[in-house]
C-alpha cells in the first residue's frame, strides 16, 4: 500500500508527446496558414506601398553611366585600371587559345597525353587520349579548345589568388577565422546570382566568364590549400624551427613539400569547380562548349547534347588525370632513389622532345589548329535525332506511360499546389508563418535573418517570383532528401549497394550543374520539371554520402551494446544509428537545399520561370536592372535557406 502511494506521488518524467513540442507548434503554424489560404485566398498581395519599384531603373541607369564613362576616349584612372583588368582577362583567354592553335591539333594531343603519362600514369593518359578522340569525333575540337583555354585562364588565376591565401590561412589561425565566413558566404551564393553584377562590371565577354568562374573556384582552392598546410604535423614544423629555420624555410622546405598532395588535390578541385561554371559562362560570353550548349538548347538540341557530352568527358578525364597526378606525388609514398630520379629526368626530357618534334612536324605538314578532317558528328546526329524523336513522341511507351505522367505528377501534386499556397495566401500570413517555422526549427537568430531577408525579397518586388522559386526548391529538396536518405541508409547497411553507388556518385559529383538539365529538357518537357529533376540528381549524391557517412560513423561499441540487449537490426537502425547520425543528416539537408536552389534557378533558362527566368531575361535581353533585382532575391532566399537549415545543426551541437 505504502509503496503504491509513494509511487503515485513521484511524478513520472514522461516524455512530452510530439504534439506538445516544437513539431506540434510547427504543425499548428502550417494549419493556421492553410486556414488563411482557404479563407482569404488571393486577398493579400504584397502591397505596392512596401515595394521599391525604382531599384531596377536605378540599376539600369547605373549600368549606362558605367559603360558611358568607361568607353569615353579618355576615361579617368579608376576606369582605366578597370578596363585594363577586363582587357587583361579577355586577352588571357585569347593567348591561351592562340597557344593551342600554335601547337596545332597534333601537338596539343601529344602534349596533353605525354604530360599526363609522365606525371599521372598510363590509365589517366589513356583517358586523356580518349577525350581528345571524342572531341574530334563530336566535331567540337575548336569549341573544346576554347573551353579549355577559358578554364585554364580561370584556374591559373584562381590558384594564383587561392594558394597564397590558403597558405596564409593554413599558417595563421586568425586569418583563417577571418576568411572562413567569407568563403562560406561565397559558396552558398548560387552562380546565377552573381552573373548579373559581373556582367554589369565587366560587360559580356571571356573576361566576365573568367571572373564568374573564379568567384566559384577560388574558395575551394583556399580551403584545400589551408587544409594541406594545417595537415602538416606541428611536430615537424617545431623540429624545423628548433633547428633554426626561418619562417620562409619552414614554408618551402617543410610545409609546402609535405602538403604537396593536398595542393595538387586543390588544383583538381579548382579545375572541377571551374569546369562546372563553363556552361553558365557560355551565357555571358565565354565561348566554346558552354556557348554551344546554351545556344543549342532549343535551336539545335543534338548540338546541345553533343556539347554537354564533351563537357562531361572533359570533366571526367581532367578529374582522373589530376587525381592520378596528386596520388603519384604523395611525398610519403614516392620514395625515389638517385638512379630512379635520373631515369625520370631522362623520361621527362624525352617527352618534351616528343612534343617539340610533333609541333615542328605539325607545322611542316600543315596540320592546322583545328581538327577538321573527319568527324562522326553527322553520323551521331542521326542517332541522337532518332532518340530525341522517340522520347518526344507522345504515343511511345516511354513518353505516354513514363516520363510524361511523372512530369505531370510532379507539377500537379507538387509544384502547383505549393506554389498557389505560398503565392495566394495573404502575404503577412506567409511571411509570419515562414518566420515562425524558422524560429521553431532553428531559433531566434535564423528566424530574424529569415524575416529580414524575406522582407527584402518583397521590398524589391520579387515576392511572387521568390515564392514560386521557393516552392520548386521545396519540392526538389523533399525528393532529394527522400532519395538521399533511402539510398544513403541502404548503402551504409549494405556493402554491395555502397560499392555500386560509389562510381555513380563520383561521376554525378564531377558534372557541371547545367549539364544535368539537358537530357530532361527533352525527356520531361513540362515547365519546371527539368530543373527539379536535375537539381535532385545534382544534390542527391552529396546527401547520400553524408547520410552514409553519418550512419557508418556511429561507434561500433554503441551498436554492439544495443545488439547485446537484443535489438534487431531494424531496431538498431531506427533507435540507435539514425538518431545518432542526425547531425550528419541535417548537414546533408543543408547542403542539399543550397545545391537545389543553385540548379532550380538555372532551370529558369529552360522553362522553370520565376527568379531564374528573370536573370536569364536580364542576360539575354540586356534587362540589367531586372536581372540584378532577381539576383538579389535569389541571394536573400539562399541566405535564408542556409541559415535556417544550418541553425538546426548549430542549435543541436551547442546543446
Amino acid at each position: 500500500m505504502a509503496v503504491a502511494e509513494a509511487a503515485q506521488r513521484i511524478p513520472h518524467p514522461l516524455p512530452a508527446p510530439w504534439w506538445r513540442g516544437k513539431s506540434g507548434a510547427a504543425v499548428l503554424v502550417v494549419v493556421a496558414m492553410l486556414i488563411a489560404f482557404l479563407g482569404w485566398r488571393n486577398q493579400g498581395h504584397w502591397p505596392a506601398a512596401l515595394t521599391w519599384n525604382s531599384v531596377g531603373p536605378h540599376l539600369d541607369r547605373f549600368q549606362t553611366w558605367l559603360s558611358d564613362n568607361r568607353n569615353v576616349p579618355d576615361p579617368n584612372l579608376a576606369f582605366r585600371a578597370f578596363n585594363g583588368l577586363a582587357n587583361f582577362l579577355d586577352h588571357l583567354v585569347a593567348w591561351s587559345t592562340r597557344f593551342f592553335h600554335w601547337l596545332t591539333w597534333a601537338g596539343t594531343v601529344v602534349l596533353g597525353t605525354l604530360l599526363v603519362l609522365r606525371f599521372g600514369g598510363r590509365r589517366a593518359a589513356l583517358g586523356v587520349l580518349a577525350a581528345f578522340a571524342s572531341f574530334a569525333a563530336l566535331g567540337l575540337w575548336e569549341e573544346s579548345v576554347e573551353t579549355f583555354s577559358l578554364m585554364l585562364a580561370a584556374v591559373s588565376l584562381s590558384l594564383l589568388v587561392g594558394v597564397p591565401l590558403g597558405v596564409l590561412a593554413g599558417r595563421s589561425s586568425r586569418f583563417n577565422r577571418a576568411v572562413t565566413p567569407v568563403l562560406d558566404a561565397m559558396q552558398i551564393i548560387p552562380a546565377f546570382a552573381y552573373l548579373m553584377p559581373v556582367v554589369i562590371l565587366f560587360s559580356v565577354g571571356p573576361g566576365a566568364a573568367v571572373v564568374t568562374t573564379m568567384i566559384y573556384a577560388v574558395p575551394p582552392a583556399i580551403r584545400i590549400t589551408a587544409l594541406g598546410i594545417r595537415g602538416v604535423h606541428p611536430n615537424t614544423v617545431e623540429a624545423a624551427t628548433a633547428l633554426g629555420s626561418t619562417r620562409w624555410q619552414v614554408l618551402t622546405k617543410v610545409q609546402l613539400p609535405l602538403a604537396r598532395r593536398m595542393l595538387l588535390l586543390s588544383v583538381n578541385q579548382t579545375i572541377l569547380f571551374a569546369l562546372s561554371m563553363v556552361v553558365i559562362a557560355g551565357l555571358i560570353g565565354g565561348q566554346g562548349l558552354g556557348d554551344s550548349v546554351t545556344n543549342g538548347l532549343y535551336t539545335d538540341p543534338a548540338m546541345a547534347i553533343f556539347a554537354g557530352a564533351a563537357i562531361v568527358i572533359m570533366a571526367i578525364s581532367l578529374d582522373r588525370a589530376t587525381e592520378a597526378m596528386a596520388n603519384r606525388t604523395d611525398p610519403a609514398h614516392r620514395h625515389l632513389t638517385a638512379d630512379r630520379s635520373r631515369q625520370l629526368r631522362t623520361y621527362t626530357a624525352a617527352c618534351a622532345a616528343a612534343v617539340g618534334l610533333t609541333v615542328v612536324l605539325g607545322h611542316v605538314l600543315n596540320a592546322g589548329a583545328d581538327w577538321s578532317r573527319w568527324t562522326a558528328q553527322d553520323w551521331l546526329r542521326q542517332y541522337v535525332q532518332r532518340g530525341l524523336d522517340y522520347v518526344q513522341n507522345p504515343s511511345t511507351f516511354l513518353f505516354r506511360d513514363l516520363t510524361n505522367p511523372t512530369g505531370n505528377f510532379i507539377v500537379q501534386h507538387g509544384i502547383q499546389p505549393l506554389r498557389s499556397f505560398f503565392i495566394e495566401t495573404p502575404w503577412p500570413v506567409t511571411l509570419i508563418g515562414l518566420v515562425l517555422i524558422a524560429f521553431l526549427l532553428s531559433g531566434l537568430r535564423p528566424a530574424l535573418i529569415a524575416l529580414v531577408m524575406l522582407f527584402v525579397v518583397g521590398f524589391v518586388g520579387e515576392w511572387t517570383n521568390a515564392m514560386d522559386t521557393f516552392s520548386q526548391v521545396l519540392v526538389a529538396t523533399v525528393l532529394t532528401v527522400i532519395v538521399g536518405f533511402v539510398l544513403g541508409v541502404w548503402a551504409a547497411e549494405n556493402r554491395y549497394v555502397s560499392r555500386a553507388l560509389r562510381p555513380i556518385n563520383d561521376v554525378l559529383q564531377t558534372l557541371p550543374q547545367l549539364v544535368y538539365i539537358i537530357p530532361f529538357i527533352y525527356l520531361m518537357p513540362v515547365s519546371g520539371v527539368p530543373g527539379i529533376v536535375a537539381s535532385v540528381l545534382y544534390a542527391a549524391p552529396v546527401m547520400i554520402r553524408l547520410v552514409q557517412r553519418g550512419i557508418e560513423g556511429v561507434s561500433p561499441e554503441t551498436v554492439e551494446a544495443a545488439t547485446a540487449y537484443g535489438a534487431t537490426r531494424l531496431q538498431v537502425l531506427l533507435k540507435v544509428k539514425i538518431p545518432l547520425a542526425r547531425d550528419a543528416i541535417m548537414l546533408g539537408v543543408n547542403q542539399a537545399i543550397i545545391m537545389v536552389l543553385a540548379v532550380v534557378v538555372i532551370g529558369g533558362l529552360v522553362g522553370s520561370g520565376a527568379l531564374g527566368y528573370e536573370v536569364a531575361q536580364g542576360l539575354q535581353r540586356n534587362a540589367f536592372g531586372l536581372g540584378v533585382v532577381a539576383s538579389i532575391a535569389i541571394l536573400a532566399l539562399g541566405i535564408t535557406l542556409d541559415r535556417v537549415t544550418q541553425g538546426r545543426v548549430r542549435a543541436r551541437t551547442q546543446a
Binding site: N235, T236, A239, T241, A242, G244, K253, R260, A332
Partner: protein
C-alpha cells in the same frame, strides 16, 4: 658521469625565474597576488593556465640536467621556453653567455642553428626526405653546401649506427631507428646544448633501454651538455647529474639523484622515489661518516661506489671500509650505515 657541481665554473645554461602562463591577458597575471594561487584556482579566476611557475636552475658544461614530473607538470613547456619555441611570459634565459630572452629574431635564429639542438618525442622527421637529408637538415638551413653537409650527415649516421639507412625514408624505419635519426640530426650541427623532449617515451621498454645506453655513450664521447625531459624516474636516475622534479609548474626539488632518493623534499617527491631501491642510487658519499683515528687502514673503495656494489666488500670486511676520493680518504662506512641505508627502502 661528470661532477655535479660547478665549483667556480660558469654555467652554460642559466634560467632565472621563468614563467609561462597560457591564455588571454597572461601578462597581467604576473605581479599581482594571483600568481600565488594554485593552478586550478588561477584557471577558475582568470582562465589562464600557469604551465611554468618561477623556475630557476643552472646547467654546467658537460652535465646532463633532467627535468621530470607527472604529466601536465610543465616539463615540455619549460624546455621549449629555453629556446623560445614558446615565449616565456617572464624570466630570463642565458645560454652560452648570451641572453636568449632579449635576443633579436636574427640572433635567436643563429642560436638555434649553432648553439642548441633538440630531439622530440614524436621525432618530427620530414617524411619527404631521405634519412641523410633529414640528418643534414640543420646544416641545410644554415646554408652549408650539399657535399659538405652530406659528408657530415654520413659521419653522424655512423655514430648512431645507421650508416646503411642513409638512402631510406623515415617511414621505412622502426620507431627506435627513427629516433636515432632524430638524435643524429641533433648531433649533426655539433651543438653545445642538446634539449631532449621526452625522446624515448614513444618507444617500447627494451628499445628504450638501448637508447638510454646510446645517449650515455654519445654523451661520454662528445661531452655534450643536455637538458633531458622524462617522466620516467629510472631513466632520470640513470642519465641525470642533476634532476629537477616539477609539480604544477613549480620545481619542488632540484638535486643529484642521491639527494632525491636520500632526502626527498616533500611527500610528492618521496612518493616518486618510493619504489627506487635506495642501495642502487645512494653512494658511499651519502652514508659515510668521518673517520676516527685508526680506521684509515681498512679496505678502500671509491666514494662514488653505490651501496649495492659496496655491500659484498663491507660485509666481508671486519673493519669499516674507507671511502676515497682522488686518493684521499674522505670518510668511512661501516656495516650499520649500510644496513640503515638498505632498511630505509620501501617506507
Amino acid at each position: 658521469m661528470a661532477s655535479s657541481n660547478g665549483n667556480g665554473r660558469t654555467p652554460l645554461i642559466r634560467a632565472e625565474g621563468i614563467w609561462k602562463i597560457f591564455g588571454r591577458n597572461a601578462n597581467k597575471v604576473i605581479g599581482t597576488p594571483d600568481v600565488d594561487l594554485s593552478r586550478a584556482e588561477l584557471r577558475e579566476k582568470t582562465g589562464c593556465v600557469a604551465a611554468v611557475r618561477d623556475v630557476s636552475f643552472d646547467v654546467y658544461p658537460g652535465e646532463v640536467f633532467v627535468v621530470m614530473g607527472l604529466s601536465g607538470s610543465g616539463k615540455s613547456t619549460l624546455v621549449r621556453t629555453l629556446i623560445r619555441l614558446i615565449e616565456p611570459t617572464a624570466g630570463r634565459v642565458e645560454i652560452d653567455g648570451r641572453d636568449v630572452t632579449a635576443a633579436s629574431r636574427d640572433q635567436l635564429l643563429q642560436m638555434r642553428r649553432h648553439t642548441s639542438s633538440m630531439v622530440f618525442q614524436h621525432f618530427g622527421l620530414l617524411a619527404h626526405r631521405t634519412v641523410l637529408d633529414n640528418v643534414a637538415f640543420g646544416l641545410e638551413v644554415q646554408g652549408v653546401a650539399k657535399s659538405e653537409r652530406h659528408a657530415r650527415a654520413q659521419e653522424v649516421l655512423r655514430l648512431v649506427g645507421l650508416e646503411d639507412a642513409a638512402g631510406q625514408f623515415p617511414d621505412e624505419l622502426s620507431g627506435g631507428m627513427q629516433q636515432r635519426v632524430g638524435l643524429a640530426r641533433a648531433f649533426a650541427v655539433d651543438p653545445k646544448v642538446m634539449l631532449d623532449a621526452e625522446p624515448f617515451s614513444a618507444l617500447d621498454p627494451l628499445i628504450r633501454r638501448d637508447m638510454q645506453d646510446e645517449v650515455i655513450r654519445l654523451q661520454h664521447e662528445t661531452g655534450k651538455t643536455m637538458v633531458f625531459i622524462t617522466h620516467d624516474l629510472p631513466e632520470a636516475l640513470r642519465l641525470g647529474d642533476q634532476i629537477a622534479i616539477m609539480r604544477d609548474g613549480r620545481v619542488v626539488q632540484l638535486g643529484t639523484p642521491e639527494e632525491l632518493v636520500g632526502s626527498p623534499a616533500d611527500d610528492y617527491v618521496a612518493n616518486f622515489v618510493r619504489d627506487i631501491p635506495r642501495s642502487h642510487v645512494l653512494t658511499l658519499r651519502w652514508i659515510m661518516r668521518d673517520a676516527k683515528p685508526g680506521e684509515e687502514d681498512g679496505p678502500k673503495l671509491d666514494v662514488a661506489t653505490t651501496v649495492k656494489r659496496a655491500v659484498p666488500l663491507i660485509s666481508d670486511s671486519e673493519r669499516p671500509v674507507c671511502a676515497v676520493d682522488g686518493g684521499k680518504i674522505v670518510g668511512v662506512v661501516d656495516k650499520q650505515a649500510v644496513l640503515a641505508a638498505i632498511a630505509g627502502e620501501g617506507d
